[in-house]
């Protein structure tokens, strides 16, 4: 049985390592100060796809991402690790999308790809932590979903058996394909880039990434796999009113950097007498006992 797998991936600012210059004086986020990375749980998702590809014949793994042209970077990163192909959804009309408009765009692209058996994405992206896109893509495609997956145990007779996390425990579920799966960060880590694949794909690029004076035109003409697919709203037959800001039911009313109510605090050193005095004070006030 051949299998077509689409891995949903997002390029995200690395919000886990936010330095002091990451916020502007006005309290907005200085995106330029944050490195752009492959969303960590999407890497866990890619690993699950690559394992299926190893375990059975005739599996194709493609990476679908939406973002600015530079998001082509994560398609290359996916190719280096073993994906077969990739698609970049990029268009100004996609900008300002909330999770619902994002899901619409991704679902429309998946329809365009066609005959997809399995859609696998990370549980959530670290720049939003919403975990909404996976289930919403599933709903828009009319597919079943399994979220918080830790391991796709097997795919047999058109059904996937999956171990997933639940609150306070684990579950094993069986779901028919086609299916949308979101993978939790506790799943197996993604394999590193393969040196041969890096050599093969390092000049792969989307049309918008290729500069006018590109001096590898001949190379790209010769090796078709270096030309990554890039789609606009029109290319996937999307309805612009359901994309980006206009397709987003949620609106941001305001964004604040939080100024916490500073308390009057007592300053202590690590010296024995300070710690001893603190413990005595807390005991006397019956705060600890």
């Amino acid at each position: 049985m051949s299998l077509k797998i689409v891995v949903l991936a997002k390029q995200v600012p690395d919000t886990r390592n936010v330095g002091k210059d990451a916020m502007t004086a006005e309290g907005t986020v200085n995106r330029a100060a944050l490195p752009a990375i492959f969303n960590p749980e999407d890497l866990n998702a890619l690993e699950q796809a690559l394992r299926i590809k190893e375990q059975q014949p005739d599996v194709e793994v493609g990476l679908l991402t939406m973002g600015p042209p530079r998001a082509g970077e994560i398609i290359r990163e996916g190719l280096y690790r073993g994906a077969d192909t990739g698609w970049l959804l990029t268009d100004r009309l996609f900008a300002g999308a909330d999770t619902l408009a994002t899901s619409y765009a991704l679902a429309t692209a998946i329809k365009k790809i066609g005959k997809v058996d399995l859609v696998i994405g990370g549980r959530q992206a670290i720049d939003g932590d919403t975990a909404q896109v996976g289930p919403q893509v599933a709903q828009k495609l009319g597919l079943n979903q399994v979220t918080y997956a830790e391991e796709i145990l097997k795919i047999e007779n058109g059904k996937a058996t999956i171990r997933r996390l639940i609150d306070g425990g684990v579950e094993v579920v069986e779901a028919p394909l086609p299916l949308v799966v979101t993978v939790n960060g506790s799943a197996a880590e993604c394999r590193p880039a393969n040196a041969k694949l890096v050599m093969k794909y390092k000049y792969a690029a989307c049309p918008l990434e290729v500069a006018e004076d590109d001096n590898r035109k001949d190379l790209r003409a010769e090796k078709g796999y270096l030309n990554l697919t890039q789609w606009s709203v029109a290319d996937v037959d999307g309805d612009a009113s359901q994309c980006g800001m206009s397709g987003s039911p949620t609106k941001v009313k305001e964004v604040q950097s939080i100024a916490f109510q500073a308390k009057e605090s007592k300053s202590l050193t690590a010296k024995d007498e300070d710690i001893n005095a603190l413990i005595q004070e807390l005991l006397n006030d019956k705060i600890i006992g």
């Binding site: 909404q132 599933a138 079943n144 639940i166 939080i258 916490f260 007592k266 690590a270 005595q280």
Partner: protein
């Protein structure tokens, strides 16, 4: 029509605490809006077992869907029931726990109804909103307030034109309280097969295993919490010892969880557990907003940090400038000496 709805989560026939917390919040919102609080619970063999765990929190009307195969939860049947019920009832607000179930169901329902959903809210308020482009003013919208961008900012989200306005909230963020005021406490048992078709039951749960929580971090009176400054998994052993002598629990920041020094079910913050202890001892925690969102309502906050300018120090009652390695053993020592 136009009421506030809470989706009630269950394990077997036991209502999850997060749902009761949401009922208490939902009651306040309903009172402010002058509407009713409704609840929906979906399971198997729950009739007569769950009502008294739900109604006391101020519910005017409870919809109980009881049929085979509705427990354990699977996405499609629960989505169908909630979506079809909402098409009839047209609620203005729907709250769910930001749990595995709520975060599986919420987006599916919101996508079906094309309504906006905000995940992991830390505050919910009612207020007006002016659309800057159209100049249109909306009254009585739900402000869905949450830290965003890894917790570096706080965003207020509204859904002006779509209903219901949906939000998920993590366990422990709101506080449950039995409602003292008057409410209708009506219970109805709709016919399940009118809301969900047999084709929805295609995902089979082969094995479902839930363990009792290993710790009571959420309810602990004293929390010793460690961050990146703890430095290692071994460093956390010291924190566990301090927690043990103080009869408290140990938590950690996202950085410590990401580093693998402590289990992720002990993560404190917006994307983890929210705690309200009497005493919070922050060990080597710098204090990202995402963390502070989960502990700022603690009674007394003690910060141990080698950086005197750590952001968390601003909200601390006691700031100890020093390393965790040096200070924590001294706290253990002097507690043992003085408490005898």
């Amino acid at each position: 029509m136009n009421n506030v709805f809470v989706y009630i989560e269950i394990e077997g026939a036991e209502v999850r605490e997060v749902s009761q917390e949401l009922l208490t919040k939902g009651r306040k919102l309903a009172n402010e809006l002058g509407v009713e609080l409704h609840a929906v619970v979906i399971g198997t063999g729950i009739k007569g077992k769950v009502e008294e765990q739900i109604l006391p929190y101020g519910v005017d009307k409870l919809f109980v869907f009881d049929a085979p195969e509705l427990f354990p939860y699977t996405s499609a049947p629960h989505t169908d029931i909630v979506v079809n019920l909402f098409k009839e009832e047209q609620p203005q607000i729907c709250l769910m726990g930001a749990t595995v179930i709520g975060r599986d169901l919420g987006p599916r329902v919101s996508s079906s109804l094309t309504s906006g959903l905000t995940a992991d809210c830390t505050q919910l308020e009612i207020g007006p909103y002016e659309d800057k482009k159209s100049g249109k003013v909306y009254e009585n919208l739900l402000y869905q307030i949450r830290p965003a961008f890894g917790g570096n900012i706080v965003a207020t989200i509204v859904n002006p034109d779509h209903r219901p306005q949906m939000a998920t909230v993590r366990s422990g963020v709101m506080q449950k309280a039995v409602y003292e005021g008057a409410c209708k406490k009506e219970v109805v048992y709709p016919e399940v097969n009118k809301y969900v078709s047999p084709e929805a039951f295609v995902v089979k749960v082969l094995d479902h295993h839930v363990e009792a929580a290993k710790h009571n971090l959420k309810g602990a009176p004293i929390v010793v919490s460690g961050g990146y400054g703890v430095g290692s998994k071994e460093g956390f052993d010291m924190l566990f010892e301090l927690a043990k002598v103080l009869h408290g629990e140990v938590g950690g920041s996202r950085a410590a969880v990401d580093a693998g020094w402590i289990d992720n079910d002990r993560q404190i913050g917006q994307t983890g557990v929210t705690v309200h202890p009497k005493v919070y001892i922050a060990c080597g925690i710098s204090g990202q907003i995402q963390h502070i969102a989960g502990m700022q309502d603690s009674g007394i906050i003690i910060s141990i940090n080698s950086d005197p300018d750590a952001p968390i120090n601003k909200i601390a009652d006691y700031v100890i400038t020093g390393t965790v390695e040096e200070v924590v053993p001294k706290m253990i020592k002097y507690y043992r000496q003085n408490s005898k």
